[in-house]
Structures are given as C-alpha cells and as structure tokens.
C-alpha cells in the first residue's frame, strides 16, 4: 500500500515537474526555430473554402520563412462571443475576420477592437491594389480599419428556362419592367421570386433594393447611414408599399414560414424564377441541381446604377503580438498570388482590382458586367445599422408583410424607435 502511495506521489511530482519544465521552456515558436506566429480567428469554413484558405496560408509561409499562421475557426455566434470576451485583453488573436458596416464592424472599431492600419496602407500601397468598393469598407470608419477579405455583390439570379417558358425575352432595366416580368411569370403559373422569411436578412435584400429604387442613392444613404428621417420621406412609404405588394403577389407561398435554405430549393428545382443572392450562390445552385446554363443574373434595376453588396475584412487587434508579420500576411492575402490561392471559394470577384474572375467561375462574366457598370455601392442594411436597430428594422419589415403595420406608417414606426433609442 505504501509502495503504491509512493508511486502515485512520485508520478504526481514527476508530472508536475514536466508541466513546469514545459511552462518555463519558452514558447513553441522558439522551439520551432524562431518562428513568428500570426494568429487568425475566422468563421467556420466549408471544405472548398478551407482548402483555399489553407493554400493561401501555405503560399504565404513558403514566401515568408519564419512566420507561421495559426488559424482558429468558430461558428458565427461563438466567433462574435469570443471576440467580445477577449476585447481589452491580451487573449485575442492578431487578426480576425469580421463584417464591415457601421453596425457590425463599426461596433468593434468603436470599442477599440481594431487597430488603425494607415501606416501599413501607406507602406504596402493597398489603396492602389484594392477595388474602390472593397476599399470603401476599410475607410468607412475614418482612417483605415481592416483589410478587405471579401467583397460580396448581390443581384437578381434568374432561371433562363423559366423566363423563356413565360415568353420573357428582354431583361428588365427599370423597376416597372421588373414588376412586369413578375406579372408575366405569375400569369404563366410560375412563382416569380423566392425568399425564406424566417431569416429576416433574406427578405431584407428586397426591401433594401426597394428603398434604393424609391428614394434614390442620396436619400437612401441619408436614411441608412446618415441622419435621415424615415417618417418624413414619402419614398419610404412607397418602398414598404411595394414590399407588401411583392409579398402578397410575387413571392413564394408561405415564404414567411420557411428558411432561406428551404426557399432556395424552389430556385434550384426550377419552381421559382428569381431570387436576390450573392456571388457565392451560383455554385450552390449548381450543387442544388440547377443546370448552369439555366441560370443567369442581372442587377436589381434600382435606377441609381449602384451595385448592392457587403464586405468582410481581416482586422488587426490593438494588442496583436506580431503586427508587422500580420501586415505581411495581409499584403500577401490581397496580392495577385494570394487572391489566386483563394480563387472563387469565398466570392466570385476579387478584392484586388487587377485580378479577373477565373474563366471557369460560374457566372464570372455576368458578375464582372454588374460590377464594371456600377457607379457605386449600397450596402445591406444589417451592416449599416446597429444590431438593435436591425432587430427593429426586421420587425417593421415583417410586420408590413404580415399586415400588422400599414406600409404608409412603417417608416414612422421605425423612426420613432430610432428617436427613442439613440
């Protein structure tokens, strides 16, 4: 018994000694030959995205011996929670992937979770490399915050076979023509457009586009990113009225009760003719069973000429342990070589202005057309608004669709909330 006790005690002391040796033996980077570590927190990646990211990291590490990139992935909400928990501590990463917009990225910038990168932008000349739309995401808070990782663009996807079946031969270039297209499709027994209403942001794309259409670019910006009065602008009532019409007449039956994934099946299987989706959607539709030749897209005809989309960036934390090495990684990421490694796994278009979409990218040519013709960008409102504002915006949007709020009063209801809560 005594022997056994001695053995246990000896083992415990031995373990403790090993742990202490481990703790005092310097960091792992020293053991691996003086490597500098750059930690990146990102979102959980799909297999193709993970492969592209790994290729990017591998390419960077080959080009920069001595720097190791360590990636940590989390699902969306845990990612947000983890960042909130490490804010103001040394426990955070060097870089983290996050959305742009005053509501999402702006919140982290406001609480000091992002380091101004002006110095690095000047050193590496990223201003010259990035597309104007992508760069706008980094400069929107004042200074330079984050380096664009994705510039996603959204447009109206349509089923060419269903358009042909309904006798539609020309694409709509005005909003009235779009409504005519919807009417024609409906008359032919085809669901004009599909959305899933349980995820509010899916339907929000239609409302955002209608606000841009009815209000014009300047007023829309005043409303979404400025101090515009939602209750005082008649165009807001028009936009909500049109939204209600689409909900009643042209969207898939029971859309409020189904998710976007379920709704997307209607598009994949040729039961709905249109949807508003981003440049990531093409491969998904093909995987879902829609023939590539049956799918095309056009910009929502807002009349302002601006494209619709949003950005994601890699932000540098204020307590980054290796900011210079992190900046080198960012530079590689936006370079032609780095963008080549990422390919179209995250979005169809590159944030690097000189990188054209690969020839085999689904709808790459169409997307290039949408972007090259755009006079600017209007952004998804869940990125423009604070999270609390977005929650209320979606309540108003859905209440109009369910008939609980009169479209004419929707803007005023939203404005009242803004006045009371800001």
């Amino acid at each position: 018994m005594l022997n056994r006790r001695s053995m246990v005690t000896g083992a415990a002391i031995g373990s403790l000694a090993l742990v202490l040796v481990g703790c005092s033996g310097g960091d792992s980077s020293e053991e691996s030959g003086g490597d500098t570590e750059v930690t990146v927190w990102t979102l959980t990646q799909e297999p193709t995205q993970k492969a592209a990211w790994d290729a990017l990291v591998e390419g960077f590490e080959e080009a920069n011996p001595g720097i190791t990139v360590v990636t940590e992935e989390r699902a969306t909400d845990p990612h947000k929670d983890a960042l909130r928990q490490v804010a103001g501590t040394d426990a955070g990463p060097d870089l983290y992937r996050y959305w742009g917009g005053s509501g999402l990225g702006g919140e982290l910038v406001d609480v000091g979770m992002s380091q101004d990168l002006t110095e690095y932008y000047e050193e590496y000349g990223w201003d010259e490399v990035l597309t104007p739309a992508a760069l706008q995401n980094a400069t929107q808070y004042g200074g330079y915050h984050g380096v664009p990782f994705i510039q996603a663009t959204e447009a109206v996807y349509y089923n060419t076979a269903l358009f042909e079946q309904a006798g539609i031969t020309t694409l709509p270039t005005t909003y009235d023509e779009l409504v005519e297209v919807a009417q024609t499709l409906k008359a032919a027994g085809i669901t004009p457009m599909e959305f899933g209403g349980t995820v509010n942001w899916h339907v929000m794309r239609l409302l955002d586009s209608l606000i841009e259409t009815m209000c014009g670019a300047d007023t829309a910006d005043e409303l979404t990113t400025g101090d515009g009065d939602w209750g005082a602008e008649p165009c807001v009532a028009e936009a909500f009225t049109e939204l209600k019409t689409w909900g009643d007449e042209y969207l898939n039956e029971g859309f409020m009760a189904i998710s976007n994934d379920d709704a997307a099946q209607l598009f994949y299987t040729g039961k709905a003719a249109m949807t508003i989706e981003g440049d990531w959607f093409g491969p998904m539709a093909i995987d879902g069973g829609l023939a590539a030749e049956d799918m095309s897209l056009f910009a929502f005809p807002t009349g302002t000429g601006r494209a619709y989309g949003f950005g994601e960036l890699l932000y540098l934390t204020p307590n980054a342990k290796n900011p210079d090495a992190a900046a080198k990684f960012l530079d590689y990421m936006v370079s032609e070589e780095g963008q080549g490694k990422l390919g179209t796994a995250f979005s169809a278009l590159s944030v690097n202005a000189s990188v054209a979409p690969p020839a085999d990218a689904p709808l790459g040519e169409e997307w290039t057309g949408v972007i090259s013709e755009a006079t600017g960008l209007f952004v998804n409102n869940d990125q423009n608004f604070s999270t609390a504002e977005t929650t209320e915006f979606w309540r108003v949007q859905n209440s109009v669709l369910t008939g609980d709020i009169d479209p004419a009063e929707a803007g005023e209801v939203f404005q009242q909330w803004r006045d009371a809560n800001q």
Binding site: R84, A87, E253, G254, A257, A388, D404, W417
Partner: protein, 313 residues
C-alpha cells in the same frame, strides 16, 4: 416511544440525566451543506443577482467599455418604448396558462388511463414519454418540417382528406404561430406530467377506493374525493415545474420561429437573450431577465404558500 425534540431518551430506572438542548438539525447539516451552498451561490445565486445589478447599467458587453449606471432607465425604456417587451410578456403569460391547462390535464388523463391493466400499457407509456427526452432543438427541426406550408405533413394531410381550405402557413401567420409552436411543445412535454401523475397514483390507497365504491360512489366521485386529494403533493410539483419550464421556454421557439414572424412568438427568456447577445444591450437584457425572475416568483411563491398551508391542515 416518540422522541420529543430537545429531550434525550432514557432507559427506565436509569439515573436521570441533565436535560441537554439538542443541536439544531440545520446546524448539524450545515457542514455537509457548505460545499454545495458555495457552488450553488457562485454559479446560480451570484449570476442571478449580478443580472439584476446589470439591469441598472448600460453596457455593450465589451470589456473595453465601462458599464454606465443609468438607474431605472432600462426599465423605463422596456415598459414605455420597447415595441417587443409587452408582446413577449403577454406571450409568456399565455404560454404558462396554456401549459397549466393542456399538457398537465392531458398528462393526468393519460396517467389515469394508463394506470389500468391493459395490453401494451408499458409500450404506450414509453411512446408518450419518449418525446420528453428529445432535445428541444431536434423537436423544433422536426415540427418545422411538419408545418412546412407546401411540403409539410399537416397541410398535405388536410389536402388529402378534402380540407384544403384549412391549410395554413402555421409558423408564418402571426395570429397562429405561437399556438402552432405550443402544439409542438405539448407533443414533447405531455409525457413528463404523465409519468409524475402515474407515480402519484401509486400512492392512492386501494382500500379507500374500495371503501368509496362500497359506499356507492361512482367513478367521478371516487376520482373527485379519493384520487385527486391523494394526488395533491404530485400536483404541487407538476404545477411548479410547469410554471418554471413555461417561463423559461426558449429553444423550441428559437428553433421553430426565432421569435418571428415579426416578433409575434417572442417570449421573455428569448427577448432577454436577444437584447443581450444579439443587440449587445446587456442592461436591457438584464432588465428583461429581472422581470422574468419577478414574474416567476409572483407565480410560484403564492402557489407554494397556498399548497403548504393545505399540508398543515
């Protein structure tokens, strides 16, 4: 021989010993309770009180931002300017009332039915109880499909039997969405009270039932005057657990509607979470949680007091 508290039992003829005051049972138990009380205090009571404290502050949840004391501001906003709070409050109350009425009553009826000798009794008990052990999020996913407006079983069944006019967007219509979710909760929850009532029914003295029958009591009179009083302790437990479980309903609603459409199925527990973790308004979230806590206490304490009073008679 009964032992009177405070007296030490003596053998007959023994020399009388000095009366000693017996140590309070609570003090005797205290050393054993301390570890549990410490853990309970740190992980349950402290967060609860801290949540109440937080309700008087404005805070985004980021360490880099200092919480700002705002007094009752969060409560004022909640009661006067929050367009969702009263809806969620009303929905929580509706959920409690319906839960006390429907699954509890169904559980009692099923327990009475399955307390009799019959073929397949154990199997039926198991089948009814099994949904109670499913994770709510799984139940939510399953019922979301059942309610799917085009492909779901409910609408297809209605179509098949010629009741196509009764088809609905069960989760998309704000007027019925809450009740649609509640129906799924009944399916999941009814087994639990049934099992408790079945256990309670084992304590009903058969002699009393037989005596009542000999006295000419019919089935209802036996139930009313013999079975129901015997089930009183079980009913107290079921009612309290039902109230508490109803007030904290969360995952089923998150999984089926996310509180929508247009916040029509929002409840207090989910609204507290949304304010804190989605809207990053931890003060407002704490205020909703405090209201939920007070509501729970208002419902549970009077009922417990009433039921304990009954026990003393």
């Amino acid at each position: 021989m009964a032992v009177v508290p405070g007296l030490v039992e003596q053998a007959p003829g023994a020399r009388p010993r000095r009366r000693t005051r017996r140590r309070s049972p609570f003090l005797t138990a205290l050393p054993y309770l301390v570890p549990s009380l410490l853990i309970y205090g740190y992980f349950i009571v402290y967060p609860m009180l801290d949540s109440v404290r937080l309700s008087f502050y404005r805070w985004s949840g980021f360490r880099t931002e200092e919480p700002e004391f705002v007094g009752l501001d969060n409560y004022v906003r909640l009661f006067t300017q929050d367009p969702v709070f009263w809806k969620s409050f009303g929905n929580s109350v509706i959920w409690v009332v319906l839960s006390l009425a429907i699954p509890m009553l169904l559980g009692l009826l099923l327990a009475l039915a399955l307390n009799r000798q019959m073929v397949g009794r154990s199997l039926m008990r198991s089948v009814i109880y099994i949904p109670s052990v499913f994770a709510s999020i799984t139940v939510a996913a399953m019922w979301r499909w059942i309610y799917n407006p085009t492909l779901g079983m409910v609408n297809q069944l209605l179509e098949a039997v010629g009741l196509g006019a009764w088809t609905q967007t069960w989760l998309g219509d704000p007027k019925i969405a809450l009740y649609s979710v509640f129906a799924a909760s009944v399916w999941q929850a009814v087994g639990f009270p049934m099992v408790l009532f079945l256990a309670g029914l084992q304590s009903v003295a058969q002699e009393l039932v037989d005596a009542a029958k000999v006295d000419g009591a019919n089935a209802w009179q036996v139930f009313r005057n013999v079975t129901l009083p015997a089930l009183r302790p079980t009913t107290v437990v079921v009612v309290i657990l039902t109230i508490i479980n109803s007030l904290k309903v969360f995952d089923l609603i998150v999984g089926m509607t996310g509180g929508g459409p247009a916040q029509s199925t929002q409840v207090l527990a989910l609204w507290s979470y949304t304010q804190s973790f989605t809207n990053h308004s931890f003060g407002a979230g704490g205020a909703v949680a405090t209201v939920l806590l007070l509501l729970s206490l208002c419902l549970v304490i009077p009922y417990m007091a009433w039921s304990m009073k009954g026990d003393g008679k």
